[in-house]
Amino acid sequence: MAKMKFMEAIRETIRQEMAADPFLFLIGEDVGKYGGERGVTGDLWYQFGDDRIRDTPISETAIIGCALGASMTGCRAIVEIPFNNFLGVCMDQIFNQAAKIRYMSGGQAQVRLVIRTTMGGYVGAAAHHSDCLASWFVHIPGIKVVVPSMPDDAAGLLRAALRDGNPVIFFEHHGLYYVVGDVPDDPDFVVPLGKARLIRKGSDCTVVATALQVHKSLEAAIRLAAEGIDIEIVDPRTLDPLDQETILASVAKTRHVVIVHEEWVTNGYGSEIAAIIADKGIHYLDGPIKRVGAKHVPIPFSPPLENYVLPQVDDIVRAVKAAIRNEEPKSRPPFEGA
């Protein structure tokens, strides 16, 4: 074990995997000499050189295409897109090309491609640099979606993604980059895709949370505990594949559920998780499924505006109480308007 920042866990995993496979390379804007826009790639360029830590023009479409073409012809590729908002300009190469080429070729193509990108708000970066867009990709078959919340998961999930042999999009919340945790030294340490993590055991309400919201949920847990409410926090870690089993088992135990993500609530992946719970676990529930996420506006710049729009610990606390308070209505109430 080594104490490591989330960012370092990613960098060291890349270093180990690249050292082990000369056909693995990393490509993106400012990833080389500059060390990465967020500093994630750091000194890798000095170790691996221009060809394998490839600085690119600001051409997201060609970056994804370049990584994809190489990955289909015997290489493995990691792309870094510094802000997930920039995925909008290269969406075709991701959802029409990378995600579908294997299927459309009847299984002929193998795409060994990981797209790393940064997401998240809370720093006044406004609507072109603050979104969380994982929901877009959960909607598309053919690309796996990873949203780590802890340094060890970042390492283990990234390694699993690199070895997966499918296109994977890996969302790094910038607010987690300096979170420190224990990361196994084992160069084969893998966290399998599709396996949720029980972050906190509890008995009164399940909180399904991802990325930075896992940490906000932990804060909420402390405040709720002071009021005698004991929440269980489940981090799915990967959204496609999604560990329905662990989520449903937790809901069956606590009988209440709140889903928290920084993505917009409307059609966010929390809606899909809610639908799965309603479909397969409605009999376990003693209250409504509550969702917490961004309000349905572009993420604003000014701190009071942004704080109002993005989910806060208060919102999670309120949602848990609302989920629990609705316990077992004696008779079905009439519809009183949404």
Binding site: A70, T73, N96
Partner: protein, 342 residues
């Protein structure tokens, strides 16, 4: 060979093609170019017929009239080189040595097709022949070809070359510009082959671009560009040889504009009257296959009997392909759920 005299609608069409005696090819080599072009043509004609009879689902975009380009380019590629293809891709796959039976089966939506019935006409591909997909998105394959070239030159250290086929319409896409910049900056072993047939669906190139000379698009990225008669298989072949030499010598990409014309509309079922007129008639008279046949006959490389025999052999091959496709089973519906992930 290089004719830069085309200026919009005032194009002067050269009726002569390269003299087969001047390119240093044997009779058998020349006949194999003829055979390949004719194989593409006959395949497409049969597809046209089957489609008209309602035997094939989906869309079909025919390559008829453009056969010299795929044939000329692919005739000088190595087995392990790469290409990316387009929605009008049948010719590229055939020119790479694609299996007509598996192609036909795919067009029928059969389980024995190249893509197990998941791709269809626009997406027939054979990765074992280095075909990295035929693409339904205009310019979608060009960045992928950049990646194949990057992987070969910078990561795997081989001398493989990647060829991106695309139409004139793709030169107006951002993906094309980004790919040109990258390939040129890193001197990647790549060939940009623009099949300029002057129409993006139903809109004339000159109506949506400041010039119909697409080579100027490459010049801005310092990519050497040549313009060739795309209906002259020998001219296409010669230009490709030069480009391959540059690519394998690490001198970077080349842009080859192949001026050509569709004999059919953008897709089958469309009314291509927007193309009709004197220009259309001139281009039909410049049919790449008939011209080449005439050149071979005039120069004594072939007799009419030899050419007829090639034709009948191809017809038999296509009959067998159709028979294979018709006899093949439809896919089991549940196989729709396979092949999403490795």
């Amino acid at each position: 060979m290089i004719d830069s005299s085309y200026k919009g609608r005032e194009m002067r069409l050269n009726m002569n093609m390269t003299d087969p005696r001047t390119v240093g090819l044997s009779k058998e080599e020349l006949l194999s170019l003829y055979r390949m072009m004719l194989r593409i043509r006959r395949f497409e004609e049969r597809v046209e017929q089957l489609y008209a009879h309602g035997k094939l689902p989906g869309f079909v975009h025919l390559y008829i009239g453009e056969e010299a380009i795929a044939t000329g380019v692919c005739s000088v590629l190595r087995r392990n080189d790469f290409i990316t293809s387009t929605h009008r891709g049948h010719g590229h796959i055939i020119a790479r040595g694609g299996d007509l039976a598996k192609m036909m089966a795919e067009l029928f939506g059969k389980s024995t097709g190249y893509c197990r019935g998941k791709g269809g006409s626009l997406h027939i591909t054979d990765m074992s022949l280095g075909v990295l997909g035929a693409n339904g998105i205009v310019a979608g394959g060009i960045p992928i070809a950049v990646g194949a070239a990057y992987g070969a030159a910078k990561i795997r250290h081989t001398d493989q070359v990647a060829v991106a086929f695309f139409g004139d319409g793709a030169t107006n896409e951002g993906a094309f510009a980004e790919a040109c910049n990258m390939a040129s900056t890193w001197k990647l072993p790549m060939i940009f082959v623009c099949e300029n047939n002057y129409y993006g669906v139903g809109t004339r190139l000159g109506r949506v671009a400041p010039t119909e000379d697409v080579t100027v698009r490459a010049s801005g990225f310092l990519i050497p560009a040549v313009s060739v008669d795309g209906n002259d298989v020998l001219a296409v072949r010669t230009a490709t040889i030069e480009a391959l030499t540059r690519a394998r010598a690490n001198e970077g990409p080349t842009f080859i504009e192949c001026k050509t014309w569709r004999h059919r509309g953008h897709f089958q079922g469309e009314n291509p009257s927007y193309m009709y007129g004197k220009e259309h008639e001139l281009w039909l008279a410049r049919d790449p296959i008939r011209r080449f046949a005439e050149a071979l006959l005039e120069t004594g490389f072939a007799t009419q009997e030899e050419l007829d025999k090639i034709d009948s052999t191809i017809q038999e091959e296509i009959n067998r392909a159709v028979e294979f496709a018709e006899m093949s089973p439809m896919p089991e519906p549940e196989t729709a759920l396979e092949d999403v992930y490795a």
